[in-house]
């Protein structure tokens, strides 16, 4: 039953990804004027346009183009960017542009995850152990404030304090590619701290809500009525039952990290994948935007799948649906 439920969930994600790819494809082919036009720009002559269209397969009908694009995606061929295009060339291979950026973004996300998950879980647990207490109120108010302000405000306040006032850290996170060890960590520190603040606030709130939700279930009420003390209730009765929901919370927040990454990479001029995508949007480099969007959406869908699986595995009722 468990295996079946998981396989079903994987199939759903797969179908979702296909639909997402269709939406992205249609979304970026809405406008008249195609990639050939964009690549050639001012230098377009009818002959060169026709030649490039044939080269890129743009003379095919849309559904054929879609399947060509999808097939290429699966084989790792992400197409051509307009960047560096000119006379005689048709731009840069997108996969070549993306790989180093992706590594940078993953490095950032990895550091954020390593710091924020343990930190946020302990604070969430602390807040839920003493609901209504002063410490709980302080945590709740702070996290509510952080999640309701724009991500760039968090980034700017950190820059104001750590870079401008104290001068400890650089206010941008430029990487030349040759940094090692301490230099690399120093450059990464500001964007990491910003993302840790944003992501932790969400995890803390959701952890607290999850635990309080479990605390209001009948078996906990029973334990209260039996006279078991609070710490013992949380540690013995509640904690194990929160594992599934909490893994769910973490996976969800890692998925939401994508939105934060877009802003933070822009604020700190960090050379990651999101910055590449924003540059692509600004120059209307559609193949590049398509490729980046697919990578982000695939990550998102996979993380949502992990979140769901955590709930399925931990909750017998979901494992054996009626």
């Amino acid at each position: 039953m468990l295996v079946q439920a998981i396989i079903k969930r994987i199939l759903i994600s797969f179908v979702t990804l296909l639909v997402v790819s269709i939406i992205i494809f249609i979304g970026t082919s809405l406008l008249p004027g195609d990639v050939a036009n964009i690549i050639l720009g001012q230098m377009a002559t009818p002959e060169s346009l026709a030649a490039l269209r044939e080269h890129l397969g743009l003379d095919q009908p849309p559904h054929v183009r879609y399947f060509m694009w999808l097939g290429n995606l699966f084989t790792g061929d992400l197409g051509m960017s307009k960047a560096g295009s000119g006379i005689g060339t048709v731009g840069t291979e997108i996969s070549v542009m993306i790989v180093p950026r992706l590594v940078n973004t993953l490095r950032l996300a990895g550091m954020v995850a390593v710091i924020s998950i343990p930190l946020a879980m302990s604070l969430g647990l602390l807040a839920s152990m003493y609901p209504g207490s002063r410490i709980d109120r302080a945590i709740t108010f702070t996290t509510l404030s952080i999640i309701s302000v724009p991500d760039f405000l968090v980034a700017m306040i950190l820059v104001m304090i750590l870079a401008v006032q104290l001068g400890w850290l650089p206010s941008i996170a430029y990487l030349s590619g040759s940094e090692t060890g301490w230099q690399l960590i120093r450059a990464l520190l500001m964007p990491t701290l910003t993302l840790v603040t944003i992501v932790s606030a969400q995890i803390i709130r959701m952890t607290r809500a999850t635990i309080l939700n479990i605390m209001s279930s009948p078996y906990i009420e029973m334990a209260i009525l039996k006279g078991v003390n609070r710490k013992r209730i949380i540690m013995r009765h509640a904690l194990l039952n929160t594992v599934g929901p909490i893994v769910n919370v973490i996976a969800l927040n890692m998925a939401w990290l994508i939105g934060g990454v877009v802003i933070v990479e822009t604020v700190f001029a960090y050379p990651g994948l999101a910055k590449l995508m924003i540059d692509g949007v600004q120059t209307r480099d559609l193949p590049l935007v398509q490729a980046c969007a697919m990578i982000f959406c695939a990550t998102y869908v996979i993380l949502l799948m992990i979140a769901d699986m955590a709930s399925i595995i931990s909750n017998p009722r979901l494992r054996h649906p009626k």
Binding site: T16, L144, V149, L153
Partner: protein, 310 residues
């Protein structure tokens, strides 16, 4: 807090007719009251902001205003710190930050509000339709919706803007559509809960039509939860549109909008200028305030026994 709630219940529980649900007045906490104050303030500024602003949003302040006796003859007007001339300082082109924030309130709040309304119109209509309609309708709408929900909002925004560019109507329609997906989910599940209740069944047995059931039974029962959800959604949409503007892909200059004001002035940040900070604080006061109000309202309608006992 829990004591307060108890007293409210005791006061009013027996004054109502036995068959009417007891109406409790929401009593706001201090943070809720602060929230209401700021929200009212910004609503006022949307209405009268441009009339009370000391300068026009596009005016470059004259450098003679900043000459201090015995100081530099021609001082720079950009990134001026707060002074009596410009209460919140000036921006990267030497325009008054306060005036631009007051003008920008209209753009930012206006666009976000219209987009939220659109999201609600679409989401609630389709969501209730899915809840009361045939299984086939529900299935197709929900699957379609799920696919859109599995794209991060900012990615969806970036793809659309890359394809069709960014103007205010596009921004509003796009945001409305993107957020309609999550409103749809909320409206559908609320509607379904009401649909299976006994009083709807009674209405059906009585022979009431579908339209009657929707307007008299379902809508009144989903209005309150949807209203709190509206507040939260409005906050998300303000943050979403500000983020796009911050990336340079939302509201375009020369209009002043809080998000794009932050972007324009980001260059002053390393020198300690408060020009990028002020518009984001404006966003923050509004969004935090709405959240505080919503918090109070949901605390009022929620409140479980064991939360108070532990």
């Amino acid at each position: 807090m829990s004591q307060e709630e108890n007293t409210i219940e005791e006061e009013t529980a027996f004054q109502e007719l036995p068959d009417a649900p007891p109406r409790r007045k929401i009593r706001f906490t201090i943070s809720g009251k602060i929230g209401i104050f700021f929200v009212l303030f910004w609503i006022m500024m949307v209405l009268i902001g441009p009339y009370v602003a000391p300068y026009n949003e596009a005016d470059f302040l004259d450098e003679s205003l900043f000459i201090v006796p015995g100081g530099d003859e021609y001082p720079d007007t950009d990134y001026q710190p707060p002074s009596k001339v410009a209460y919140l300082g000036t921006d990267y082109l030497g325009r008054d930050t306060l005036s631009r924030i007051l003008y920008g309130a209209r753009t930012t709040i206006g666009i976000s509000f219209v987009a939220t309304l659109l999201a609600y119109l679409l989401g609630v209509t389709l969501g209730i339709a899915a809840a009361v309609g045939s299984e086939w309708l529900d299935m197709s709408l929900s699957r379609f919706n799920d696919a859109f929900l599995s794209i991060p909002t900012i990615m969806m925004g970036l793809v659309v803007i890359a394809a069709v560019g960014s103007t205010i109507p596009i921004l509003i329609v796009m945001t409305g559509f993107i957020y309609a997906t999550s409103v749809f989910r909320v409206a559908r599940s609320l509607g379904q809960d009401v649909m299976v209740s006994d009083f709807v069944e009674a209405a059906k047995v009585r022979g009431e039509g579908l339209w009657w059931i929707i307007t008299r039974e379902i809508l009144p029962n989903v209005v309150m939860p949807l209203a709190t959800d509206f507040g939260l959604r409005f906050v998300w949409i303000i943050l979403f549109i500000s983020s796009l503007s911050f990336l340079g892909l939302g509201v375009q200059p020369p209009m002043s909008d809080w998000g794009s004001m932050v972007k324009e002035n980001l260059g002053g940040l390393p020198y300690g200028s408060i020009a990028p900070l002020m518009p984001s604080l404006a966003i923050a006061t509004l969004t935090i305030s709405i959240n505080l109000i919503v918090d109070d309202i949901s605390a009022h309608s929620g409140g479980k026994l064991s939360n108070r006992m532990i």
